[in-house]
Symmetry: C2
Subunit: 106 residues, 2 copies
Amino acid sequence: MPDEEGHPTVEEIELGKVLSALADPLRRRVVRELADAPDGTARTCSSFALPVSKATVTHHFRTLREAGLIRQVDRGNSRMADLRRADIDARFPGLLAILTAETGAH
Amino acid sequence: MPDEEGHPTVEEIELGKVLSALADPLRRRVVRELADAPDGTARTCSSFALPVSKATVTHHFRTLREAGLIRQVDRGNSRMADLRRADIDARFPGLLAILTAETGAH
DNA sequence: CACAAGGTACGACTTCAGTCGTACCTTGCG
DNA sequence: CGCAAGGTACGACTGAAGTCGTACCTTGTG
């Protein structure tokens, strides 16, 4: 069985869900910031300062997690999120490069 | 100015619209079939035999066209669609390879 | 010319995704 | 202990997206 609740295994990652998750500019911004940071960088949800409410932030991170793009682990007080870089690269090579190349209006 | 109605130029192609367009399995199927065919292959909308009505087919092809993924030109009786392969490769290298690699339930 | 084939336009319906407020839970800290 | 910080759960609202039927236009063909 997978890790915890809502983390698909590498084989379970579906292109459709990944593309749907990345269709949203806020979620794309989260992934891009994580992809630009050193591998293994883990940040809290709130550290991204998304211009939406807490409830909406939770919703977006759940979408990213269930798509298989990020990993979320409880760490005492808060919950840390980090990019599943190796898994993404294995399933969709070149995808992260496309995302990090995005510039302009975000 | 661009070509005809609804064809963005290469620079106007936006990642968000491309990902939104590709989030739909039917549209992904169209792009994949075109990408698998030889470059320059042009097909009619109806030749894809999508399991939806004519009106819906028109809708999906308009979405693909406005996202900049396909080109549509009137050719007498019908309207031929072909992949904007060079433009896509220029803006998002590796994207088409990800799509053509998709297997399983479509 | 008349008609079928291929698409588009428009309006309508339904489902889904993004958004929020509120209530609530857990953990760390003073 | 008591409280603030960080997140989640739930219900609700709204707008967007996929779907369809019908009507209509254009082009090629018999």
